[in-house]
């Protein structure tokens, strides 16, 4: 006898399972059209690879895995792709998503199937790839890709593999009937998963209210090491974390996954799908769905092709449209209302309740919380539902988060026991959604900040580079000018003038020298040669003699030319001064250099001015 533990809280809602588990699983058959959403799993939507009008065979891939996590979608039967469009999908929002619509041709012609009965001879990764290619996701409701779940990271060795046959939610009997009728397939699928994971312990947890299923599984597991654990009926014992606690006594850490404590939970339906995929090569194109509720004449379980509209399933079960007041997908505790019966059933749908008005009446209006504390007693996660409710209602999401809001499994036990009919879980879902939204926004704003700062940096850098280039250019120009002047001087001294511009500046120099010489001569003439000027005079005289040696062929600059030079020099000076100011305000390291350059330019302007004056006063030498 397997040792069992208990989890805190839990409720005992009326089971309502008898209606649907008294008939064997029937085939729902071919509906007039199949609507296949591209996203039936957690992760990225699959990428459609068919076109409208294309013929497909049963089991053909119609949408392949896109970027990131996901599984392919297959054609549930042979037929023609009618359209690829936005259709209503089973989602609590009642919104639309991209779907492939397939019109069956009624031939049910299979594409090529590749069975792998000798899977043990394959690599484990190959088997995982087969599971992924078969489009298998967790059929319990979350729709997590099974191949990813079956490949835990190296540091997380799975030593306990649990097959979840608890099915604790009222009304639903899909797993119950699957275990009764397909016990061998369940065991095969479990063996494949056990072979992949190599756990030390394999347990099938079944609630005590399913004696037929227990008997069938016992018989199928005969001779194997697989334990069949019969657990007390209590909602939500089929919750992954609760079942793990019941069977191992361990709690999954907050925010963690079962693999963190070396446990993995798989669904009954998933095991069947894995067995079909490996041994027969069949992709996941159908599943067992419970159709129940008082509005149905023949409630029961059906083998339903993925994408079958709920209305087709209801018709199979003999729906009385007069009595139907509410259509619910999933169980009464965790399901949601379907806005219309045309919505397709997908890989994660396990139950459709066609409820009459008396079965699921409009809930009583919400009353104020009386702090009775029943919710805290019922909570299987041992949270404080009433505190969470206050904070969620007051939109103090941070405080709710501090009270471990994200550990809430949304089982609805608190809402079930609330004497004030407060829709507690709705508040938690709302708070969770808002927090996720805020996080997403925070991420986006962080990214925007990074981009904004990167842009600012780039602009600053560009501006600096531009400034630097301008300064470099100015410096180069100044140096070139100096070089030119020096060249001209040497040329004047050597008596050779290479080019016109150098010649011009040489002429200016020449004129200057002449004037100086003249002035010196005049002063010498006027007064007796004094001792002070005697030192300068010979030098200037020398310079003037040098200057007079310039070839006469070179034309003497006209006044206009000199004026032009003056205005050029002035413009340059102004430019240099503004650059100097820039450099000073920007505290650039080359301020002193620029200052020197400006002084030089001032000198140059002065010289040019003098040259003009000189040219105007002295008669032209022809």
């Amino acid at each position: 006898m397997t040792q069992l533990w208990n989890f805190g809280g839990g409720v005992h809602p009326p089971e309502n399972k008898r209606q649907s588990n008294s008939r064997p699983i029937r085939a729902a058959g071919l509906p007039p059209e199949l609507i296949l959403p591209l996203q039936q799993h957690i992760g990225e939507p699959a990428r459609c690879i068919v076109e409208p009008g294309q013929k497909v065979l049963k089991g053909d891939v119609i949408a392949q895995v896109g970027n990131g996590m996901g599984v392919p979608v297959h054609a549930p039967t042979s037929g023609r792709i009618e359209r690829i469009s936005l259709e209503h999908v089973p989602h609590p929002s009642g919104m639309s998503d991209t779907c492939v619509v397939l019109i069956p041709d009624g031939e049910e012609r299979w594409g090529e199937l590749v069975p792998h009965p000798e899977y043990r001879k394959l690599e484990r990764d190959q088997v995982l790839a087969l599971i992924r290619q078969a489009g298998i996701v967790g059929l319990g409701g979350a729709g997590f890709p099974t191949n990813i779940k079956l490949r835990p990271s190296v540091d997380r060795k799975v030593d306990t593999l649990i097959l979840n046959g608890a099915e604790c939610e009222p009304y639903i009997t899909a797993d119950d009937m699957t275990m009764r009728e397909k016990a061998d397939q369940v065991m095969t699928g479990l063996r494949i998963m056990a072979w992949l994971l190599r756990p030390e312990r394999v347990v099938i947890g079944i609630e005590e209210n399913k004696p037929e299923a227990i008997a069938a599984m016992r018989q199928a597991a005969e001779g194997s090491k697989t334990e069949i654990a019969i657990i007390p009926a209590k909602y939500p014992s089929g919750g992954e974390k609760q079942l793990i606690q019941i069977l191992t006594g361990q709690e999954v850490p907050s925010g963690g996954i079962p693999a963190d404590i070396g446990v993995m939970c798989q669904n009954i339906g998933t095991a069947v799908a894995v067995a079909d995929a490996i041994l027969q090569g069949k992709p996941l194109i159908s599943r067992v769905i419970t159709a129940t509720g008082e509005a149905l004449a023949e409630p029961g379980n059906f083998e339903v092709l993925i994408g079958t509209p709920a209305s087709h399933l209801l018709a199979c079960a003999g729906v009385d449209k007069q009595r139907l007041s509410r259509l619910v997908l999933g169980g009464p505790m965790m399901g949601y209302t379907l806005p219309s019966p045309g919505i397709p059933l997908i890989k994660t749908s396990n139950c459709v309740i066609a409820a009459s008005a008396s079965e699921l009446p409009t809930p009583a209006p919400e009353q104020p919380c009386i702090r009775c504390g029943h919710c805290a007693e019922a909570c299987p996660m041992e949270l404080l539902p009433q505190q969470l409710f206050w904070h969620a209602k007051a939109t103090e999401f941070e405080k709710a988060e501090h009270l471990n809001l994200f550990d809430c499994i949304e089982c609805g036990a608190c809402s079930y026991v609330c004497p004030s009919s407060i829709p507690l879980v709705q508040y938690y879902r709302f708070a969770k959604g808002e927090i996720r939204l805020q996080r997403a926004e925070q991420q986006k704003s962080d990214r925007a900040r990074v981009r904004f700062e990167a842009r600012q940096q780039r602009l600053d850098r560009e501006q600096q580079e531009k400034d630097q280039r301008r300064k470099d250019r100015a410096l180069a120009a100044v140096e070139a000018q100096e070089q030119k002047t020096a060249d001209a001087r040497t040329m004047v001294q050597n008596g050779t003038v290479a080019d016109e511009r150098a010649g011009k500046s040489a002429l200016v120099e020449q004129a200057l020298a002449r004037k100086k010489a003249k002035a010196a001569a005049a002063s010498a003439e006027r007064a007796e040669p004094s001792t002070q000027s005697s030192e300068e005079a010979p030098l200037e005289a020398l310079a003037s003699t040098h200057a007079e040696r310039i070839p006469a062929a070179e034309p003497v600059p006209s006044i206009e030319e000199l004026e032009q030079q003056l205005s050029q020099a002035q413009a340059k000076l102004e430019k240099m001064q503004s650059m100097l100011e820039d450099a000073r305000s920007g505290k650039a390291p080359n301020v002193d250099k620029l200052e020197r350059a400006v002084d030089k330019n001032i000198e140059r302007v002065r010289r040019a001015q003098r040259a003009i004056d000189d040219a105007q006063t002295t008669p032209q030498q022809a």
Binding site: T337, P423, A448
Partner: protein
């Protein structure tokens, strides 16, 4: 008598010197670079860099708030940002200053591409480099990076940029808060289903 007083004074002086030195060392050694409060404020702002607050970006506004500016000048952040800032700075939350604009639904810029003349003016205006294109070639907005700041709309010479309100789709949808009593009886699909089974208990019991 005097010796004991001198000893006491000496001991106290010694202690003062030691702790003074310790504090001085700690002040130097563990000095915080920059102003951490500005960073915290900046982290709460929505980073649209739209300038609606009157400051050239979110960081300058964060600095201004740190220096005493009002916290209610950020329309893109809306009430949530004001409350978060009030929480951080321990001041009373104020209603949004309408002078700086009203809170709007999240929007994204979309260029009508056949009308774009490729002038690059919007590219230069975008504070987060979310517009792609080059001179005389069509530009386009990288939707995932657009903050909806509006700054690209005004410079466009041919008015080919639209600000589109982001409609919630199936991937961004979240649960609405429960309908409080007194509100319309017609419920949103899916709301109030959990545990409605409890009301049906009497019915089930009558079945048994």
């Amino acid at each position: 008598m005097w010796t004991s007083i001198i000893i006491a004074v000496g001991v106290l002086l010694g202690l003062a010197a030691v702790f003074g030195a310790l504090l001085g060392f700690a002040a130097e050694r563990f000095k915080v670079e920059g102003n951490p409060l500005v960073d915290q404020i900046d982290a709460l702002l929505p980073q649209t860099q739209c300038g609606q607050c009157g400051f050239p970006g979110c960081r300058p506004y964060a600095e201004a708030i740190n220096n005493g500016a009002a916290i209610n000048k950020c329309p893109p952040g809306g009430e949530a940002t004001i409350n978060a800032l009030a929480d951080l700075l321990d001041v009373e939350p104020q209603p949004l200053d309408s002078e700086h604009g009203a809170a709007q639904a999240k929007r994204v810029a979309v260029i009508r591409e056949d009308e774009c003349i490729g002038c690059t003016k919007c590219i230069q205006a975008c504070p987060v480099d979310a517009i792609l294109g080059s001179a005389k070639h069509m530009h386009t907005v990288i939707e995932s990076e657009c903050t909806g700041c509006d700054l690209c709309v005004e410079p466009c010479p041919v008015d080919c940029i639209d600000m589109i309100v982001i409609e919630p789709d199936i991937h961004s949808w979240t649960w609405a808060p429960p309908v409080v009593k007194g509100a319309v009886p017609g419920e949103a699909p899916g709301s109030r289903l959990i545990a409605t089974d409890s009301e049906a208990k009497t019915h089930e019991e009558s079945l048994l």
